[in-house]
Amino acid sequence: MKSLGKFILFIGQLFVRRESFSTYVNLFFEECIKVGYKSIFIIVIISVFMGAVTTVQTAYNLIAPYIADPIVALVVRDMTLLELAPTIMAIIYAGKVGSNLSSELGTMRITEQIDALEVMGINSISYLALPKILASITMFPALVIISGFVTIYGGYITSVITNVITGTDYIAGIQMDFNPFQVKFAIIKALVFGFLVAAISSYRGYYVVGGALEVGKASTGAVTNSCIGIIVADFLLAYLLAPLLNI
């Protein structure tokens, strides 16, 4: 509970004694490149294979004379939009970006760089963490959208290469009973997960006490806590928003 209270105070500090707008604009774009652009490669690679595996597994489980082949693609699409693209990617994002944010801030803490900012009269929490959190909230939804496209396309390529279902059936399947709210649902999840990963990781890194060992521990803690936050938020969002899928 003490940590939760400290985390809430940390979030509150993001919005007080801010520096000029132009200072944050530069930092924001730098962070967008770090958390977003530099994550595209890993997101694309994992998404392609995630689509491939999902298609093959679903096809083998749904082979039956009374199940139409396009259903395989429908299942792949729904799984991708509702869980794989936002949630699995968030866990990968926590591993890549979360650990990086945490170790960056942790190292700044133990080498007194954060103290240097404070002595200059700069609100170090706002200066360091706010651009990271805003960049994460902006870029992670974009990564999820890319992941969604690539996963579904990866499934298509696999279906064509392995012939588990035909390409025509796959295209028909991903268009079948499409509910546009699934895309909104994925983006809402991405916004929440993007915030959680950046905020939790920044918090863990910012309050590091000690040396290199503690920076490593904070980095691991950032990933672990982010994953727990993602799973809990995923459940809550599913509970709150899933009913809207049927409207």
Partner: protein
């Protein structure tokens, strides 16, 4: 002038500072000395506001700092410059960006003016043609000098130095001490230096404050330090073989 009044600080029930009062004079190098673990750095952190003392106050030119609101604290902090033990340079920025950093964030000066000021400060600390180098590409002594350049770039009224010559060879150490003293005289700053290096104390210290086990035991000048009969101070000052030889000769 900085006035520290009755500062006390403890961590987990362990008293680290006990009722410390000091006045740091303007235009002088004021030194806080003592053995490792006596609370010098904690005192410095209380003075600059990185730690909040349990009791006591710090006043900057009659402006209450410790319990002031955040706005006033920020205003006072923007008049401070600080040299950290390890330099605390930003790893991802060049030397020029590091020195320019306080101006980028705290002022709205045109870029050309800022570059001129950075070059002036780097020249002042004896560093030229290092603008484009990264902190990892320069030596420890150069890092300290870049740290000093960054600390003085906004013309601060107060300069704080935490162990400015730790890890440096004697010659570089003397160079840093002289630089701190010259800058203090030149800009009439109130300078506070935490050190346990006796060469540094004798080289640049105007006013010296000796702390032992969290308590203030002695105050005076570098000329008076050899004549004291405070046992703890004598043990500290004459701990080294060289200083013992000097004492015997005296």
């Amino acid at each position: 002038m900085i006035e520290v009044t009755n500062i006390s600080k403890s961590f987990d029930g362990k008293q680290v500072l006990e009722d410390i009062s000091i006045v740091f004079a303007k235009g002088k190098v004021n030194m806080i000395i003592g053995a490792s673990g006596t609370g010098k750095s904690v005192l410095l952190k209380c003075i600059v506001g990185l730690l909040k003392p349990d009791e006591g106050d710090v006043c900057y030119d009659n402006r209450e700092f410790t319990r002031a609101n955040k706005e006033l604290q920020t205003e006072i902090r923007r008049e401070m410059g600080m040299l950290f033990q390890g330099g605390a340079l930003f790893d991802s920025e060049t030397v020029e960006e590091n020195v320019m950093f306080p101006m980028n964030v705290l002022t709205k000066q045109p870029l050309q003016e800022k570059i001129e000021r950075v070059n002036f400060c780097l020249e002042r600390v004896g560093l030229e043609n290092v603008n484009r180098k990264m902190p990892s590409e320069i030596s420890g002594g150069m890092k300290k000098r870049v740290g000093i350049a960054r600390a003085i770039v906004t013309n601060p009224n107060y300069l704080f130095c935490d162990e400015p010559n730790s890890g440096l060879d004697p010659q570089t150490s003397i160079r840093i001490d002289n630089l701190i003293k010259d800058i203090t005289d030149e800009y009439k700053m109130t300078t506070v230096v935490v050190s346990h290096d006796m060469n540094s104390v004798l080289q640049s210290g105007d006013h010296i404050n000796f702390i032992h086990e969290g308590r203030m035991l002695w105050k005076g000048t570098s000329d008076q330090i050899g004549d004291t009969d405070v046992k703890e101070l004598n043990d500290f000052v004459f701990a080294g073989k060289l200083m013992k030889v000097v004492k015997d000769k005296i």
